[in-house]
Symmetry: C2
Subunit: 652 residues, 2 copies
């Protein structure tokens, strides 16, 4: 790492305070190269981080976040922050289990207050800490929330700003306005932000400052502030900024790559004892033409190579996301009542392709999962067939809308849950491990999983035809198994599992993707002389009761496997069904995610850690098959033994 | 009902079109008296409905909602709408199973598009229907969303408005601004609305209209509109209204009780082929001094009597909500680190009392559940002990925040889930039947239930001391059992159930409130010669494994009872734990809510319907105790039988 003059020696933000502006600017260039170099090797978030290098430097230069509070929103723009807080040595293992997490991570550093990855939380948690510090009498702790222009229009962020406007203390929201969401920004407000991009306001400062002062009683500092503004050339007070209606003093927009201005402005707003929004304009992907010219592609790219002007992304295998988009395109071609909707993830969900092919029927509503689901409910009410594609973890944002506006109405909204299960490098904030648990209690809901491309196609075909109520399919952040594209599979039948391989010593019921591991495990167990039947359960609700009755009656061990919390997952649905039908459950064994957090690393590595991969299945089944038979249950009429433990409990 | 001249004869909105303004005004008075008279007998939502009588008449007079779309938000202001759509004859059985639902209900009338009860959904579902009608080529269908001033600042509503601003068609949001939430309005934006209450704008119309036109390209109709405005005396175009930033043309405020103005203005905005927000000012509780003077008390009052000027609310028993508030007050007196937070339900949750007693430490953040939970996460991060009190059904709004910002951080936020289980007259939209299912998959979460006041106190005491992670307690919309206040109970111990009564023939494990029914059932069964042990399980996570091992080993039948979906509820946690520990589950029987919707009616009636009351418990246990013993499970080594069903499945 000798290539860098400053980076390797920065152990804490205080180290940069003695720097001159020129040195800080040189540091910024080092940070850009370090980040780009690493992401080109391992993949990760690039453009968002390149855009906030100067802003992050300025924040750490002006505030002391060993005492002050810095709250990230989403957090995929935290790499520069991590480089300034002593984590340069972990950068070369970015997003790996022993390396630097791709999101803020309190386990890594006290400078990271919250592990975040979902949008719109920063203002609310900051309001909580602002009120908390105040109640604890620590009013000298400044609070800063760093929020992007697409996060800030998320419903939660709006609720947070509405409440922030009532604070009677210093509170700074830095609006990082790069004019880009993860994809292009959506909604009317993003158009509103554009106005500021078009017309940067210079001069007229005194006049506008006075207008703002007339509107807001924000104390002496603003008078002072506006006087200093008089001398500043690159600052402005935005007139009638949207968020002034939320009770925030709005300042900006200012140039987010102009370090002197950023530092001067932050020094000023730091003193204001009133909620302030500082509107900062940044260029997503700043520093490298290939990333600033195509910030969507380089938002979170796979590894890539740069040779002169040629930038080449290493191409991975075919993802479930691509398979999904292709399957949806076929359905949308055949039926013009089909609608595709995503919430701010056009690329991550494959919707970008559909929006291009069906601009009238494919929508990105921006980071607004609640709205996406309710808009689909309204569309379904008019007889359309909406498919809403949301990461499993983000669908947690729309549980209530799914409850009231979809399930209670019995509307056939189709939920496509990408990134279901363990997600690899993104880590704990993005795992989708509770979609079965949170959706199965809804009357009329149908829950499915797809193990490969052919099954995903078949599931979508089933959902397209299923108008009786809402339905959902889950599939992982993974590549589709090789064989998939060509393969033909039996159609999905409501509540029917699919036999993949025969066997008579034991049966594996896997829910979707883990069925692939089960088939591998089956071969390894065959080598040991065991014949194992493998089923893809396909449905968690309704569950295949007839199959279960047969398997239980057969007396062979049954193993359920899923990429979902074991607690409240598919295996639980199965034993619940057994209990419902008076069937014994001792022959049922369950593999799923443990009741603890699993952090960033490779998805394969995470599946191994959870014991739901082929080896885990082999280990579990072997221990079951080679265990001594269980003791029979106590006879039902043995009253003396029956009473004993109760007496013990009573101590009589 | 001969007391009314018009009401009994209105079978559909078209019936009022021939009416003169004077007749419409007389109709309005009849509607007010009919609604007030009924609510005084049965209880129900009063003030919200009295406030929108003229507005509802005007909407049905101007639009044809047999074809056009009317979307309610929250919907507790739908009584006038129901009276105009042929449901006067059901009013006398308001909120009863065979009567008129208290919320919009599609099963009642095609004029009700969605069953709603949660805030902020109206704009989003309206956007969905607007896009849907457009895609279906039915562009002549007008779309109207009726939203209150506290709902409109909910995150979901903001997301909806942001998306609505991109519509290229007629779309009307009627902002019913009564300056009141269910309690006093919260947040900076409500203060912003006040500005409009202070300064009604008259005159200067041409000038402002031109400014609006300059800002928005909304086609010919607005030119026309502004000309007509010239002749109107009571209308105005609001300059720089908050929602103009969302791309909506904002008109108003206008007087929501002035029928001629309402009708004239609606006729105008109906023609605008652009999203419009019509700001209407109404008086909550309008028509009767007692309700307009105290709209909070009369938002949703118990039955009451009016004698001249004396209005008396029939007092019910002591509610769990009151018991909660009193218990919290004690805790907050002892520990100044304890914070109480609610989201728009100060009265419904008992927080009003705490806000009055501890203004510095008790907060109502308005209808913003997501923000409430994240603000508490931030407060917990500063070492405070936040208790956030949200109805079980509304906590569905904050599942994602509980996942990421609370559970993943391991923060000890305390969740107090009022209205858990069946809620009676409010019906399906308000049942809290999935809190266990949606929270139990979160690592580190502790789940509890309280059967009475003494146990609620003990649970809160436990939660106050429990800093290891998040915890939640559920309690019903019910009165605390009589004996409660005096009673002393054993302290809550993590994961330990509480024995209430001995027995050796069977054991009932009830989760919280149903334990009261279990004790009644026990007496009835004793009369039949059965000795039944009754436990209050207290914890769903972690579950009392030692007790379960003892009970299973005893071989006696075990019955779980809960006021939660049987699918994914406490009973499921129990059989899951059995399976985890290799215990048989055939002696376990589960009672909980069925996998279908239960509609409005008395709470007792609903519990009977679900079979979780004393009679249901007696029925179930009797059938179990008097059933022939179950056949033993097939021996594990019977390979021939084992293979059979698998072969059958394969058809070989």
């Amino acid at each position: 790492m000798s290539e860098y003059r400053f980076l390797p020696h920065i152990t804490r933000p205080a180290d940069i305070r003695p720097f001159t502006i020129e040195e800080l600017q040189e540091l910024a260039q080092e940070m850009r190269h370090a980040i780009c170099g690493q992401v080109s090797k391992t993949g990760g978030h690039l453009a968002p981080n390149l855009g906030v290098v100067e802003l992050t430097i300025a924040l750490h230069y002006v505030f002391d976040f060993s005492h002050d509070r810095l709250l990230f929103d989403v957090g995929h723009q935290c790499y520069p922050h991590k480089l300034l807080t002593g984590r340069f040595d972990k950068l070369d293992r970015l997003r790996q289990s022993d390396g630097m997490a791709g999101f803020p991570e309190p386990r890594e550093s006290p400078y990271d207050l919250f592990s975040v990855g979902h949008a719109g939380t920063g203002v609310s948690t900051a309001v909580g800490m602002a009120r908390g510090d105040q109640l604890n009498g620590q009013t000298d702790r400044k609070v800063v929330a760093l929020v992007g222009d697409s996060s800030i229009v998320n419903g939660l962020a709006m609720e947070g700003l509405n409440n922030a406007g009532t604070l009677k203390r210093q509170f700074l929201v830095v609006l990082n306005d790069n004019g880009m969401s993860i994809g292009p920004p959506q909604g009317a407000v993003s158009g509103y932000f554009d106005k500021f991009r078009i017309s940067e306001r210079y001069g007229d400062l005194k006049q506008r400052a006075h207008e703002v002062l007339k509107k807001l009683p924000v104390g002496q500092y603003v008078e002072e502030l506006y006087h200093r503004f008089g001398e500043m050339t690159k600052a402005a007070l935005a007139h009638q900024h949207l968020f002034e209606h939320f009770g925030l003093l709005c300042i900006g927009p200012i140039d987010g790559h102009d370090l002197p201005t950023l530092i001067e402005m932050l020094e000023e707003v730091k003193k204001i004892d009133h909620p302030v929004l500082l509107h900062v304009k940044t260029v997503k992907g700043k520093g490298f033409d290939f990333s600033s010219d195509d910030p969507t592609t380089f938002h979170s790219p796979k590894p890539f190579t740069v040779e002169g002007c040629r930038v080449e992304l290493k191409s991975g295998g075919r993802s479930f996301t691509t398979a999904y988009a292709d399957a949806m395109a076929e359905i949308m071609k055949r039926d013009d009542k089909v609608i595709a909707v995503t919430a701010g993830m056009p690329d991550g969900t494959g919707l970008a392709q559909l929006i291009e092919e069906f601009p009238e029927r494919a929508f990105d509503v921006g980071i607004a999962e609640e709205h996406a689901v309710d808009m689909c409910a309204g569309m379904a009410k008019t007889g359309l067939k909406p498919f809403v594609t949301i990461y499993s973890t983000f669908l947690q944002r729309a549980v209530d809308q799914t409850f009231q506006d979809v399930a209670l109405q019995g509307l056939p909204v189709r939920f496509c849950m990408d990134r279901a299960g363990l997600v690899g490098g993104d880590g704990a904030v993005h795992h989708g491990f509770m979609d079965i648990a949170m959706l199965r209690s809804l009357p009329g809901m149908t829950l499915m999983a797809a193990m490969d491309e052919a099954n995903l196609k078949a599931a979508l075909k089933f959902m397209h035809a299923h108008d009786a109520g809402p339905s959902a399919v889950r599939y992982p952040r993974d590549e589709v198994p090789d064989a998939a594209p060509a393969k033909e599979v039996a159609p999905f039948e409501l509540g029917r599992a699919n036999l993949l391989a025969e066997g008579s010593d034991a049966a594996i019921l896997a829910y979707g993707f883990p069925a692939n591991h089960a088939l591998v495990a089956r071969e390894q167990l065959e080598a040991r002389g065991y014949k194992i039947a493998v089923y893809d359960a396909r449905f968690a609700k309704p569950i295949d009761v007839e199959l279960i009755k047969g398997l239980i009656a057969s007396g062979v061990p049954i193993l359920t496997v899923e990429d979902h919390m074991a607690m409240g997952g598919f295996g639980t649905c199965l034993i619940e069904a057994c209990n419902e039908h008076g069937l014994p459950t001792q022959s049922v064994h369950r593999l799923g995610l443990p009741d603890r957090w699993i952090y960033q690393g490779g998805r394969a590595e995470q599946q191994r850690e959870a014991g739901i991969d082929a080896d885990g299945i082999v280990r579990k089944l072997t221990s079951v098959l080679e265990a001594p038979a269980l003791p029979a249950a106590a006879p039902m009429d043995d009253r003396s033994r029956a009473a004993a433990p109760l007496r013990r409990k009573l101590g009589v």
